[in-house]
């Protein structure tokens, strides 16, 4: 147990910044992420199909983006946190060769109910905002 720590509400304040993450967008992540989420749309694994839509290469599917968003939140909170909701707006595609930087901060803490809201922004270094939204976590009341 001790190698993983989970934050409690008492340890969290509005305005706390989450440690930023840089995600290398590789063909492997895009294609394998699509397959791991059972999304077999050709634009996520077949470059020719993606190019036909006007993009330079395969691009990340939404379920992978969702996964990266929850991972960003729980990497910070620790594994006993329970994800309650995820709300995201999509922007520019993530295409191999890009780096997506994820940043976030705590926007609300409901100590009574152990609920924490986090705003999350994922921006890639080429086209800017890839996704923006919020994750709500339930944190343990005491360590």
């Amino acid at each position: 147990m001790s190698e993983y720590k989970t934050l409690t509400c008492a340890e969290v304040s509005v305005g706390d910044k989450l440690p930023p993450q840089d995600i290398d967008i590789t063909t492997g992540l895009v294609v394998c992420g699509a397959l791991a989420t059972r999304d077999f749309e050709p634009v996520h694994h077949n470059k020719a199909a993606a190019v036909a839509t006007g993009l330079p290469d395969v691009f990340m599917n939404i379920l992978t983006s969702q996964g990266l968003m929850t991972r960003f939140a729980t990497d910070w909170s620790g594994p006993e946190a329970v994800v309650k909701s995820l709300d995201l707006r999509l922007g520019a595609p993530n295409v191999p060769g890009m780096v997506m930087t994820m940043t976030g901060e705590v926007t609300a803490v409901d100590t009574e109910n152990g609920i924490v809201d986090i705003s999350v922004l994922g921006e890639n270094n080429i086209w800017g905002m890839h996704m923006q939204g919020s994750v709500q976590l339930a944190l343990p009341q005491e360590a």
Binding site: M1, L55, I62, L63, G67, T74, P79, L90, M129
Partner: protein, 318 residues
């Protein structure tokens, strides 16, 4: 399209609101550790709640769980979808949009709520309806409609485990995509550079060399910035320059929130800075929290490479 045609089309699409896309349908496979492990490895998610059974056994949950973001994964149709999706209300709606020129498609929003975690062995049952369709909107992509599906997920005990709202824009594409974009479009953008002409090239060239110069009238010694060809005090066109120490004071500042311009790093703060030499310069404030920047703040500038192509003075708290 005439107003009547438009009305008829809208009557037809709005009739889809509330229609069932699929009745409650169990996923073909139960939640299982194999798919969870694939997902966790690929997304680089080392959360032990997903994959470390020993850890999970001793955790508050007592067992591993599926990543919540996999909620929709279990019921995905799979590879079969690529060879033609079985017709349902959603495909019919999409066909209708396509027939009327709204061929563009863009997922714009996803909202998932999770009421119960699921673990290997659980069955995820999904039902989906078309929840709402917007009025016709003008978007940057072109005119279109947003439609939102609502999926409700239950487990084998009939307990609701979560919901998903997924919003899609169907639009009339405004332009054909330019001849297939090449990898060139993936160059990392840099800041917008100043054009260089007779009156300013020397200044930017010096900046590239790490020096910030201030133009000085050779006749009356008056300093001026930005550079211009004639001294406003004595009308002399003879000039030289001095190098600034970049000691300065903030006269005003603003944090740029919107729009975010590709090539710039945010948070981004611009300021008007009074240099010790007496002229003002616009630059960025870096090296502190945006909330710490204030009028009257003492700053010290350093000429830095801010991206692959750009050298600029950047000012730090002194």
């Amino acid at each position: 399209m005439t107003a009547e045609d438009q009305k008829a089309f809208e009557d037809e699409i709005y009739a889809f609101v509330g229609r069932e896309v699929c009745p409650p349908t169990p996923a073909k496979d139960d939640v299982n550790s194999t798919m969870i492990r694939h997902w966790a490895e690929i997304l680089g998610d080392s959360n032990p709640a997903y994959t470390d059974e020993a850890w999970a056994k001793n955790s508050a949950r007592g067992k591993t769980i599926a990543p919540p973001a996999m909620l929709y994964v279990w019921n995905q149709e799979g590879f079969a979808a690529t060879t033609g999706r079985a017709p349902d209300a959603q495909t019919a709606l999409v066909d209708l949009f396509n027939q009327h020129g709204y061929t563009g498609v863009l997922g714009t929003n996803v909202k998932q709520e999770y009421f119960r975690e699921v673990s290997p062995g659980d069955t995820v049952v999904m039902a989906m309806t078309i929840d709402n369709i917007s009025e016709r909107k003008t978007t940057v992509r072109g005119p279109g409609y947003f439609f939102e599906t609502l999926a409700t997920f239950t487990n084998q005990h009939g307990e609701t485990i979560g919901t998903q709202r997924f919003k899609v824009l169907k639009f009339i594409p405004q332009e054909q995509p330019a001849a297939a974009a090449s990898e060139d479009t993936l160059k990392v953008p840099t800041r917008i550079a100043s054009p260089r002409g007779h009156d300013n090239k020397w200044w930017w060239d010096a900046c590239d060399e790490g020096k910030i110069l201030i133009q000085r009238c050779k006749n009356c010694q008056t300093l001026r910035h930005p550079p211009r060809p004639m001294c406003g005090e004595c009308q002399s066109m003879e000039w030289d320059s001095i190098e600034s120490t970049l000691d300065g004071e903030v006269l005003s500042h603003t944090q740029l929130h919107h729009p975010k311009i590709p090539g710039y790093q945010y948070p981004l703060i611009c300021a008007v800075i009074k240099l010790a030499e007496g002229t003002n310069i616009v630059s960025n404030i870096v090296g502190c929290e945006p909330s710490e920047v204030h009028i009257g703040m003492a700053v010290k500038g350093v000429v830095e490479q801010v991206d692959e192509k750009t050298m600029l003075p950047q000012f730090y708290p002194a």
